[in-house]
Symmetry: C2
Subunit: 228 residues, 2 copies
Amino acid sequence: MNIGILGTGGVARAIAAKLISLGHTVTIGTRNVEETKSRSKGDAMGNVSFQEWIGKNASVKVATYADAAAYGELLVNATSGMGSLSALTSAGEKNLHGKVLIDISNPLDFSKGFPPSLSVSNTDSIGEQIQRAFPNVKVVKALNTLSNPLMVNPSLVNSGDHTLPICGNDAEAKKKVVMLLASFGWKQENIFDLGDITNARGTEAFLLLWVRMYGVLQTPMFQFKIVK
Amino acid sequence: MNIGILGTGGVARAIAAKLISLGHTVTIGTRNVEETKSRSKGDAMGNVSFQEWIGKNASVKVATYADAAAYGELLVNATSGMGSLSALTSAGEKNLHGKVLIDISNPLDFSKGFPPSLSVSNTDSIGEQIQRAFPNVKVVKALNTLSNPLMVNPSLVNSGDHTLPICGNDAEAKKKVVMLLASFGWKQENIFDLGDITNARGTEAFLLLWVRMYGVLQTPMFQFKIVK
């Protein structure tokens, strides 16, 4: 499958590399292609420079948001939540129209340091904002509740036995996403469908707990499992 | 130990009954003692009427917020979050002063139906509001992330193996609360100390996910376990 990923950070890279390993073809979208390709410094999260990463993942194409969106039969929003609407607007409605968009973003606001707050929460969410702005896109919120190594390799903790909440308005779109997640190693019984996209209020707000647990544990290699 | 519990709903009752069974003495605090004692109807949550409950739990005393607070060597806030500051103000600073207060409240706002939103969240929390209003009270946020049967009987799910986040500014107060939780059946290794009271932003916001999972599962008998 041809997949377009918006974003160039740790999440985008983890998803891109996994998709390539599974035989898909991937175009990553960014605001300024030349600027992105010339980035020679790693980031504060411990990610290597984009230059170094793309050197090792040469089959990933780099394009504008619009070209990456046009390329993808399925799209992934891996931009930071506070920049997601702007990135998707740059991508253009005609390139998004009718497609499934896996929204992994979280509206983390680091302007006052760590732990971050959320720029939208409680009675709204970035998932809903995207769905409202692009009513003809099939937004499926998923993978935003855990760190990127675990998104694409759930077996790294507890033999893959932990819970992934998803939500979205379109049942067929969710089925497609669940199939893709299964190819990442997610067991069907661990995927928790919360219902429509308004449930993104729950999964995004969970970040307010996640970032604090991360602060104590000093590692992102943890997850939650719902037990009954 | 003499323990004062503010509130008369399902959480207050579960905690009161458990404490009595463990040999403690308990006074429940309410705004209007006679009105509370005369309540002959169950509530929408499936709780029996207060009259029926107190008939079966006759060793629990019922008093005003102020008298219950004065009575307790240790206090529990089991009022609804939106009414907590008002209840604690009625209890009176001099009756709270210097005491450990276990704050179980959540600022759930049901004014627009289910699922509720939070009346305070993201950059503040009811736990912090209580601590700011009563700086000489040792507020420990605990037990607000799960349903009341599980609070006092964690073994009801997954053999008691699941995670309870707590937070508060006073280390000694947290030790006392952890000892009490151990007497409820909580294993030390499952209690996750997040740090100071600002972390109540995380555990209260978790409710935005919890209520939605509850909506899907149609039972409150579930919990989360952090796995590594």
